[in-house]
Symmetry: C2
Subunit: 412 residues, 2 copies
């Protein structure tokens, strides 16, 4: 435990969320107020900004604009998908990071991201320890996917879940308005974990949501899917389906795979077009009217439907990361420790070793999914419902959101 | 002008909106409070409910639930796309409508819909006059497309516009988060008029919106489009584009036409898949990362982003329709008469002859579109901005919308 004096860098990485800027705000405002942190730098586009010596001097920002970060979706500092090499194979990037850390006297590094970002954080931390450069390094979690280990849930998830639940409630009203029947398929993000698709079931629980929900935790079977849809359609004359983009056959092949072969920087297949494909299959097999809807980027940037619980927790993990680091902690991700019981929902931050958080994927427990594999049980609702509570009192200008306007003054 | 005593029917038709139920609520509550109207019936699925003798007794609804209609998207009574025949060719449907009107002593008919619904309304009105059945008939306008003639704008448009503007503002933040560049194409509804696509420009005006906006009022040219996108992408490293689903080449062919040949009940081509198609063209031509996003049904049922101005006006047209009808007026659509000047925005209802409103399509004036044909001028902003002002204080339960729950008791 070393209490260091020096500058800090905050970087954001991976797919943005509606509340990732609340975490960055928590880091920046806590760091600016800390006597031990001499300068607060924001890395342009995450670790790429460090490598490229593109650091913003956050002390030059208008405090009122920093306050607006928690209402502003997407990564205000810019994001990246950049995978650091194994330092034992190629330490070029690490040498460069060390050079920049020395140049700006950086003694604190906060990385705001998901699984891959915690891996980046962990690698840098281990390297700095190896070369004996004192630097406290903390991961600040975000991901709408909610698949980070070591935490009850992940900031970013709840706001996406609230967006998905609300949108599905509205779609349910719309997609059954005619007496001529329709099968509507809503595609929801989540490569390997069904936390987001499961959030559609919150709408069903509220009485206006999907009839069927398919998570990637269960192998997908097209014949079973068509039988499910037919059964609902015959009984009700309409059917609303929510599917995770990550649904796959028993052999592991993504159902959407035939549609695209593009991959992102980490080698993940870029999914999409699944809703349209399934709608087409239903149309051909059942001869009914269909519509495929992809929530796409809308679900991860829908700050106007952010959960206040989520925003508050996102800010809290950023704040806790700085507090832990200045007290001498390093090599941790800030996680959330929650209880749900008769007294309500309670949440506090905790520290999770980075090694535990990096590169593992937490999935929806199979016992929370129904026997038919086309919906979730009450356990899922009990888990997710407290997270989507509370609305933000959003600042508006002319009836539209007022987002933070950062000056982004490059450090010299 | 005949002041009639008897029952009324309210029906909803065509694609729903976020505020069509506010208009129905205006009709129902005003009618229930009127001494002249003896019974208030809601037609299940519009005119099909009249033809099929499926009428709900709205007097049996819980008043508190009726109050929630203005927060509930989509057509609460159910909608239809049913085109009445020319009565001179085939008056079967009209005879049946007359039979039902006589059965329930219906002396007032309110039809809540768009262009085609005003046509339905007009035909029924003319038939009732021809056969000498006293009945006051009023059109209550709705359409997100905003293409109805005889009114400054149409209830439903502003809430969709607010949804589109807000979503585009959020997407702009998200779609430029990486330093690796992306062209993102957002597809917006609007078959023949660009009012909705133009609403994306409100986001740009607010500083976080599409770089390019294409309306169907201007012939689309793929080469010009690609040159526009390239220019923005080269200057900024990113490009956000909003396109109307209805963009078409100079010969009138829809750009999306190759994608689908399905048609709806009125013979309109069902468009969709345009964003994905244009994204694919950009990818092939420019070799950059692309994403196509279709706002789809979300934009017409997004009650959580309803404009209070729109909800209030939607209620007002419903109320005005009943007040005019009981005072003896018939054969009108209620329109909106608005002024925008230094004293602000002022709006009041007026009566528009049904013949004027039916089957004509009001488009965005060409002089409101920029010379390049890839954006709108300040005139459009001045027109649309007052309409999206104000937010609804939505009732929530467990962090999710609380929609009206109607009993829908069938009349005997």
């Amino acid at each position: 435990m070393e209490q260091l004096k020096g500058a800090c860098i905050i970087g954001q990485s991976g797919g943005p969320t509606a509340v990732i800027n609340a975490s960055a705000q928590g880091v920046i405002q806590t760091a600016l107020a800390s006597g031990q942190i001499t300068k607060v730098y924001g890395a342009a586009h995450g670790i790429k900004g460090v490598l490229g010596d593109q650091l913003y001097d956050m002390g030059q920002e208008d405090p009122a604009e920093l306050d607006l970060m928690k209402f502003t979706p997407s990564s205000a500092l810019g994001s990246c998908r950049y995978k650091l090499a194994d330092p034992d194979v190629d330490d070029t990037d690490y040498q460069r990071i060390l050079e920049i850390f020395k140049k700006y006297d950086v003694r604190y590094f906060f990385y705001n991201g998901g699984n891959d970002s915690m891996d980046t954080c962990n690698k840098i931390s281990k390297y700095m320890q190896k070369v004996g450069y004192p630097c406290n390094i903390m991961g600040v979690p975000k991901t709408i996917d909610n698949d980070l280990s070591g935490t009850d849930h992940c900031p970013g998830y709840a706001s996406a879940a609230k967006y998905i639940a609300t949108s599905c409630m509205e779609l349910y009203q719309d997609a059954r308005v005619y007496d001529t029947g329709m099968v509507c398929i809503v595609e929801i993000m989540g490569r390997h974990a069904g936390w987001l698709a499961g959030a559609a079931a919150l709408a069903s629980w509220a009485g206006s949501g999907p009839d069927l929900v398919y998570l990637p935790e269960v192998d997908f079977d097209m014949d079973k899917f068509l039988a499910d849809v037919k059964k609902v359609y015959e009984a009700q004359g309409n059917c609303l389906v929510a599917v995770s983009e990550g649904i796959h056959y028993a052999d592991g092949t993504f159902v959407s795979e035939a549609k695209t072969s593009a991959t992102d920087g980490f080698g993940h297949a870029q999914l999409g077009g699944l809703a349209a494909m399934l709608a087409d299959v239903v149309k051909k097999e059942m001869g009914v009217k269909v519509r495929g809807i992809e929530l796409s980027l809308l679900q991860r940037c829908g700050a106007h439907l952010a959960s206040k619980t989520d925003v508050d927790e996102a800010y809290a993990v950023g704040k806790a990361a700085v507090e832990a680091a200045v007290s001498g902690q390093t090599d941790y991700m800030v996680g959330l420790d929650c209880t749900r019981d008769a007294s309500g929902y309670h949440c506090q931050t905790k520290l999770v070793p980075l090694t535990e958080a990096a590169n593992t994927e937490r999935k929806v427990p199979l016992e929370w999914i129904n026997a038919e594999g086309n919906g979730v049980k009450q356990e899922f609702i009990d888990y997710a419902l407290p997270l989507i509570q509370g609305e933000m009192d959003r600042p508006l200008e002319n009836g539209m959101p007022r987002f933070a306007k950062l000056k982004k003054v490059l450090a010299k």
